[in-house]
Symmetry: C2
Subunit: 340 residues, 2 copies
Amino acid sequence: MLDERKRLVLRAIIDSYIETAEPVGSRTIARKHDLGVSPATIRNEMADLEEIGYLEQPHVSAGRIPSDKGYRFYVDALMEPHAFPKSEVERVEKQLLDPQLTPERALQAAARLLALLTDSVSLVVAPSTDQLVFKHVQLVCLEPNSILVTLVLHPMIVKNRLIRTDREYTPEEIGEISEALNQKLRGITYRQLGLTVLREIISDFGDIGHTLVDLVLQSLAEEREEQIYSTGASNILTQPEFRDVQRAAAVLAALEQKDILLSILSSAAKSSGVQVIIGQENAYAPMQTCSIVTCTYYVGNDVVGTLGVLGPTRMDYSKMVAAVDLVAQTVSLLLTKQHR
Amino acid sequence: MLDERKRLVLRAIIDSYIETAEPVGSRTIARKHDLGVSPATIRNEMADLEEIGYLEQPHVSAGRIPSDKGYRFYVDALMEPHAFPKSEVERVEKQLLDPQLTPERALQAAARLLALLTDSVSLVVAPSTDQLVFKHVQLVCLEPNSILVTLVLHPMIVKNRLIRTDREYTPEEIGEISEALNQKLRGITYRQLGLTVLREIISDFGDIGHTLVDLVLQSLAEEREEQIYSTGASNILTQPEFRDVQRAAAVLAALEQKDILLSILSSAAKSSGVQVIIGQENAYAPMQTCSIVTCTYYVGNDVVGTLGVLGPTRMDYSKMVAAVDLVAQTVSLLLTKQHR
DNA sequence: TGTTAGCACTCACACCTAATGAGTGCTAAA
DNA sequence: TTTAGCACTCATTAGGTGTGAGTGCTAACA
């Protein structure tokens, strides 16, 4: 629906704006990318592109800047894929493909690498426990009234928790309860651990185990929370759009609110592959000056989490997409290998 | 060495500057705090205070601002202790004194509360594993070549780790090794786990356990790293001294570097009680526009970690000290109770 | 019909100037 | 020792002007 020249002009404008953060004029385009036409012609094209809503004018005597809609078209149809130099790819692989890495560390490293590759804020959501399956539950008696609960979830997450009990239990009692609980829970997912299942399990235990099991299940429920790793927050302050400290503060504050990040990232997790959320497409107002690029990552064929980067709408989308994809694929590879 | 009136003047100036962030003139002092003397007299006092090095003048026709040295004197001798309203104290206690809180969560909550109480950046260093004592080590065989290592340290830290082995082990072998390892490690500190001890332990095991024990110890060594919880980074952007984005970026970047934070905080951990590091007293240059207030926290009588806040040198020291002290005491109480 | 040169027009931005006023240090009198 | 008075400094603000990048429109051209 856009003729070839309009596409070229639009791409030239967006590329230039991404690079310089300055409104782009017709002259600049004519000079840098020689399309074989005069600035006047480009002005006409620009007027058309503005009418469709792909460009905007900060004020009449400035050049044009892309609108969110313009970026959307750019991302969907215009931009050229970015290829990282081999050295960068190798660094990512070297740092991530270490089979001895714990998942937590691997995700932390992923966040660090993402921030490094993109000079923006990285976000990594650790697997939501909801979809995970109980693989192993174990109670160990450390002292008569101090019990260690260890929880292994499939795939690959280990959690644990120290519980203080009011009454004392013998190691034998604990072993018994541990074994029984293990039988009950093995194979079901965290999500299925609803109230009915809880009641059923609790009622199965006699008075001996009743309160203890109650405590254990309660503490399991608390372990449900997602973990988020994020780095590179200071990077966004180097971006000219955040020279206004007010705006920067708003975004940084949002970054510290786990629930906001989660709602943004988990909505993106529904579809697989790389997702781009541009400016106002984001429902959360203070983030509408930003874009987010996300990608899901896997263990085997199961989506277990999301990772991504956040930056101003004027971001190098091509590079961001490449970085997010690279890291997501590499993390998936590592986790899948570890999990066999 | 400072006569009473000079002290009053200095305190008035610093209080006023802390509140308004504006250089303070003689007139203002004379008006607000009626010392019964004219501005001219105060001007003379101010000139003296500047000569001693407690005050500085941004330029000749501006008022005075405190120097680092002035703040130091203020903190050591001038400021009045801050008392939080009962409601705030109760909120802290309510949120922290929950015996079911895991230590990690408690420290996270402490960081959150500190940031909330002080409107600045909070820093909480989790117990350095170095000083901790092995209490319980356990290997559980999940699958023939997948072993879960659980580590309970005294006081109160639990860590774990999934290990993949090249060769398969039977549950019996694992149990045996687990038991033996437990015997060897119980009671020694992480720090004592040096090379010699490692060799001794490894050589004690036959060919059966050799490689496995090697792997386990290796992974233990990796768990050594300190954890830092920090929140409220966006708060510093609301401070007028960080209207200059450059400076804010420098501080935020430093906040993301764990090693820098650790070196600052651990040096403060040497002496007990509340410590204040003012501006240039901090060795790390980009932070010399900031002050840090820290306090150690305890389990029983053992110092296990440090927590604190960071803000511009023009911070409400009195409030900061009170907040850090309150949270440190409350955390200590919780951890000590949990640990019995 | 599409392209281009020319031109009038707009407007952010940089620069200069003067006025303002908060604050000082010094001096001399109380 | 204190204070009133005064000359002086200098950051900040407001007003005014010029500059230049960039536009839209019109008319001529291919």
